[in-house]
Symmetry: C2
Subunit: 271 residues, 2 copies
């Protein structure tokens, strides 16, 4: 998918919502547990109910890996289902990978080819040769952690670098020099909306993946005020607030309603 296609999807559907698939067998409706693949059954129902109101899905790999081989089968089924039925939705594997060059290349193959997602979240700590292998795939994107939504973000990300700026801004600036940096997006937590003005000075064009609206307390309005750019440039993720809106038989319908509510709010921001 090109970034122009992504922007077109956003404008034509009036939404920049990303639905996070953090599927937990202890939280899904009990009747699904009798299905041969309850994780996939849940995901399929959520996807079918929310697809009109979002432009992206973000399977969180940890929730699949916690179930071992069966979890990976469910991940593969989910991604295949999305590609076959909703090819215009961006699929972001939320995997937080990153390693030395030849190993990062393997992770890129895992998530861009073997389980064909459109984007993959990655961690910056190991630097250039851990990031660039992910940027060699046309139409695929690496979503780099910049300033995350959790309390631990203040341990290292906001430390001031000597005589210069905070680490997360250094991460943004330096990674923009990497080869094929136009295939980089960045994770910025909605709980840190006041930082978005500084962030947009360094990466005015990039798409930002913003978790933390909803359960974690971030504000949609503030994120849009400080973070939106000419091409929109935002993908706002909600996971638990949508997929666990109900744990009853109406779980998919309620997920769809929650997604529709967010879509309506986003549509206003776009106009």
């Amino acid at each position: 998918m090109t970034l122009d296609q992504l922007e077109n999807q956003i404008r034509s559907k009036g939404t920049f919502l990303c639905v996070g698939l953090d599927t937990d067998l202890e939280k899904i409706p009990g009747h699904l547990l009798q299905q041969p693949d309850p994780i996939f059954a849940f995901n399929k129902a959520i996807i079918d109910a929310t697809a009109p109101y979002c432009v992206a899905y973000k399977p969180n790999t940890a929730f699949f890996e916690a179930y071992g081989v069966k979890g990976w089968e469910a991940l593969e089924r989910t991604v295949v289902y999305l590609n076959q039925n909703y090819p215009d939705h961006l699929i972001i594997a939320d995997a937080k990978r990153g390693d030395i060059g030849n190993t990062s290349t393997r992770y890129a193959k895992a998530f861009f080819e073997e389980i064909p997602c459109d984007a993959l979240t990655i961690a910056p700590y190991m630097g250039r040769d851990s990031v660039e292998p992910f940027l060699e795939f046309e139409g695929k994107y690496a979503v780099l952690l910049a300033l995350t939504s959790n309390p631990g973000a203040f341990d290292f990300q906001t430390l001031p670098i000597a005589g210069q700026q905070q680490l997360y801004l250094e991460v943004l600036e330096k990674t923009q020099q990497y080869k094929n940096a136009d295939r980089l997006m960045y994770v910025v937590g909605a709980t840190k909306a006041e930082f978005l003005t500084d962030i947009r000075k360094v990466v005015p064009e990039a798409f930002l993946l913003i978790p933390g609206v909803g359960a974690q307390g971030g504000s949609l309005e503030e994120v849009c005020r400080y973070g939106m750019n000419k091409r929109v440039g935002l993908l706002i993720n909600s996971s638990r607030g949508i997929i666990y809106a109900s744990q009853g038989a109406d779980f998919a319908q309620r997920a769809g309603q929650e997604a529709a509510t967010l879509q309506a709010q986003m549509n206003k921001m776009l106009n």
Copy 2:
């Protein structure tokens, strides 16, 4: 496994070698490709040939994930085989994980329970609540990236924090304050042996997992001179130099010879 047990293994076998399982179907002997699970067949042969000369194995998850569900099946088989046949060897899943708290908990379940390894490599960028969930498991260890062996390590890890020390030392110092920090080990590249003196001032007791001896050019002697502590405190990893010593029918035998050579060198260092 306790750290005392690990030290006992090291002293009784005269080795602190960790064998990295970076299994690549394009590099393994052709005759194995006819096996139902060639990745596992290769790993099993390598393990059986090298077990007397090492105390740990480090499956690199990227190399398994690159083959999708089949790769995860091979990873599970490899870990089960190690637990059943070599219970005294430490199993380190080299996965470089880390995410917000409830997600890190899922990764911990994936690698400490579902696929029962003894340790897992993790990334520090997201701070305390991304690390502490991995430290809640008795007898299990999180191996945190501190100063990695690759060129990109100089992008962020060695940046000076205002008025203080370099980022990797800040990472060591701050994470030592985390809850259950005695379950932390650290990754330090052998290519950065001259940094080990400073590192040992901050983490005198911790075990260090040291990649980069061999293919990447690090020196075993220098690592031992600057990095060894009273309990040894070192696990030195070699992957490609051992597992791809030969691509012929003698691959396992040659891998055993390479591991034995390293064991002999390490045995000298221990005496």
